[in-house]
């Protein structure tokens, strides 16, 4: 099972709405969260190696998240589930929805991005593992799936750490786990015929009410940059006398 999120495309320069209620999303290009693309790719590779029999892609959110799921299907997922709602979904609610689906689907493992590039929360995978009482292997840069356990190399602040987790487990992807493939046109066409089931939070018995109220969204103070120096001598002189960051 792979969880994917629809987010503002990483190339878009995000603009804060003038009323401070959020960021501008109308007429803005949306894409699959890049970390989730890595998760799909990893699942597809495991299936290609015969280590997974079926890939189920799951997304939670508005109806247009179907597009994100079609992308997942074009990349190699076998079927998709959309938990459709117009409600604001925070990480705890998404983790509860994914946990409800995981209980139904009973996958050997769930893989998803370590964070979404919109809210940058880095929580959903860990929360999902906790709710299912499964082990977790976050920030994965290498995944080896065995008979009843997985060995995962994790990116940590000091370097690398290797954990062994019993399956079923939750894995979250870091940047260097793999390089995702592009969807080919024939696969995009085939994806249109793959099954996509739609559920609701109510049907899954999950209360998705937000726990955090967003009071305001602001633009950070602009940094005044653009200063230039002509050469190394001027740079060092200015760092010493003007910026006073060198003795």
């Amino acid at each position: 099972m792979v969880a994917v999120k629809r987010v503002i495309d990483f190339n878009v320069k995000v603009r804060v709405k003038s009323d401070g209620s959020g960021v501008e999303t109308t007429n803005v290009k949306m894409s699959m969260n890049p970390f989730d693309e890595i998760a799909i790719e990893e699942a597809v590779r495991l299936k290609e190696k015969g280590l997974a029999t079926e890939i189920v892609a799951v997304s939670c959110g508005v109806a247009s998240s179907q597009e994100t799921l079609r992308t997942a299907l074009a990349l190699g997922a076998d079927r998709a589930i959309l938990v459709q709602t117009d409600a604001e979904l925070q990480p705890l609610a998404v983790a509860k929805l994914l946990a409800a689906i995981a209980r139904n689907e009973a996958p050997r493992f769930v893989i998803l991005g370590k964070q979404a590039i919109d809210d940058d929360a880095n929580q959903t995978g860990q929360m999902l593992a906790a709710l299912l009482d499964w082990p977790q292997a976050t920030f994965a840069s290498r995944v080896d799936i065995g008979e009843d356990k997985a060995t995962v190399k994790r990116e940590v602040d000091g370097g690398m750490e290797t954990v062994e987790v019993r399956l079923p487990a939750v894995v979250t992807t870091d940047l260097r786990l793999n390089e995702p493939r592009y969807a080919t046109l024939p696969n995009i066409m085939k994806a249109k015929k793959k099954p996509l089931e739609t559920l609701t939070p109510e049907a899954l018995g999950v209360d998705v009410a937000p726990r955090l109220a967003t009071l305001k969204v602001t633009e950070p103070a602009k940094r005044k940059g653009g200063g230039r120096v002509a050469d190394v001598k001027e740079l060092v002189a200015k760092l010493r006398s003007e910026a006073k960051v060198l003795p």
Binding site: V14, A121, R154, V156, D157, G159, E164, G227, V232, V245
Partner: protein, 313 residues
């Protein structure tokens, strides 16, 4: 009600990130307990007890906690939280804090507020979203606030002057479904990247890993840490723990020198709060120059040796 801080350590010394988390905790609660989960942590517990503002050091010891998993740290923390009536559970937004705290939050059925950069009130926090291109101020309606803090946004607590009590508490029974079976930590004599006063970072312009030696010579002169852009890490020039950016480390040194880095949004997210930014790049149009205080256009392979030499004079 007190706050509980999760200490990060290597069983010998406390990581500086925890000192920043303690400062945030002191701003949120009138009493602060610090949980030290590990094995043979006498020195760590003593160091934490000496931090002003800490009321109690809660020490959970067990052999299986020498290299603890998120599962085991969360289990012990949850046992303490269940009987402690805490208003806040706090950790630094490091790879350890990010790994463990959401597990605790989910079990408590509360939201987590990630990567907080400002405390607006006991239930209201400001945090960056969209790689720091926007700040969201959020108010939590949960009884317990589970919070990770961005270390660069809070000062480090002093390391002496306090006299907290140290209490031994029971570790939760071992969770055996996950085990740490190996570690490859990057060895370095340099200051730690996230707390260094000066950071020298290299990007794709370095062309290969060998050329990072040029930056090492410069960093030696400045007592600087060495960082890198995602492009340099992805290309295999340097290990992953060098990465500065949205998904890597967040730094805010007095002086940040970006060498051969174009300035992608996700890199800027990790360093734009630096006090002074120097950019060295051969491309005069590189976005990094827009946020740099001092931009120098030119060939880094000439500039860096010249800069190192100039600093020696």
């Amino acid at each position: 009600m007190p706050a509980l801080v999760l200490a990060e350590h290597d069983n010998q010394s406390i990581r500086s990130a925890t000192l920043h988390a303690i400062t945030a905790a002191c701003a949120l609660a009138d009493s602060v307990d610090v949980l030290v989960v590990g094995s043979s942590t006498d020195a760590v517990a003593a160091a934490v007890a000496a931090i002003p503002g800490v009321a109690r050091v809660l020490r959970a010891e067990a052999p299986h906690l020498a290299h603890p998993t998120a599962e085991n740290v969360a289990a012990t923390a949850l046992a303490i939280i269940a009987r402690g009536a805490y208003s806040h559970v706090i950790a630094a937004a490091t790879s350890v804090g990010k790994n463990v705290l959401p597990r605790i939050a989910a079990r408590l059925d509360v939201a987590q507020i990630s990567d907080v950069i400002a405390i607006e009130g006991s239930d209201t926090f400001t945090r960056p979203i969209y790689a720091g291109n926007a700040f969201a101020t959020v108010r939590s309606s949960d009884a317990i606030k589970v919070v990770t803090i961005r270390t660069t946004a809070f000062d480090a607590a002093p390391s002496s002057g306090g006299s907290a009590s140290i209490e031994i508490i029971a570790a939760a029974p071992e969770v055996t479904t996950a085990k740490v079976i190996g570690q490859e930590l990057t060895k370095s004599e340099r200051p730690e990247l996230t707390s260094a006063r000066v950071v020298v970072s290299g990007g794709r312009g370095m062309a290969n890993g060998e050329n990072f030696r040029l930056l090492e010579a410069l960093a030696d002169k400045l007592n600087a840490a060495i960082g890198a852009s995602r492009a340099a890490v992805d290309a295999g020039y340097v290990p992953n723990d060098y990465q500065v950016g949205q998904t890597g480390k967040i730094v805010a040194p007095d002086l940040y020198i970006a060498v051969g880095i174009s300035g992608a949004i996700q890199h800027l997210a990790g360093m734009k709060d630096s006090k002074v930014i120097v950019a060295i790049n051969k491309d005069a149009e590189a976005p990094i120059f827009q946020i740099a205080d001092y931009g120098l256009v030119g060939d880094l392979f000439e500039i860096i040796p010249a800069l190192t030499a100039e600093l020696s004079s």
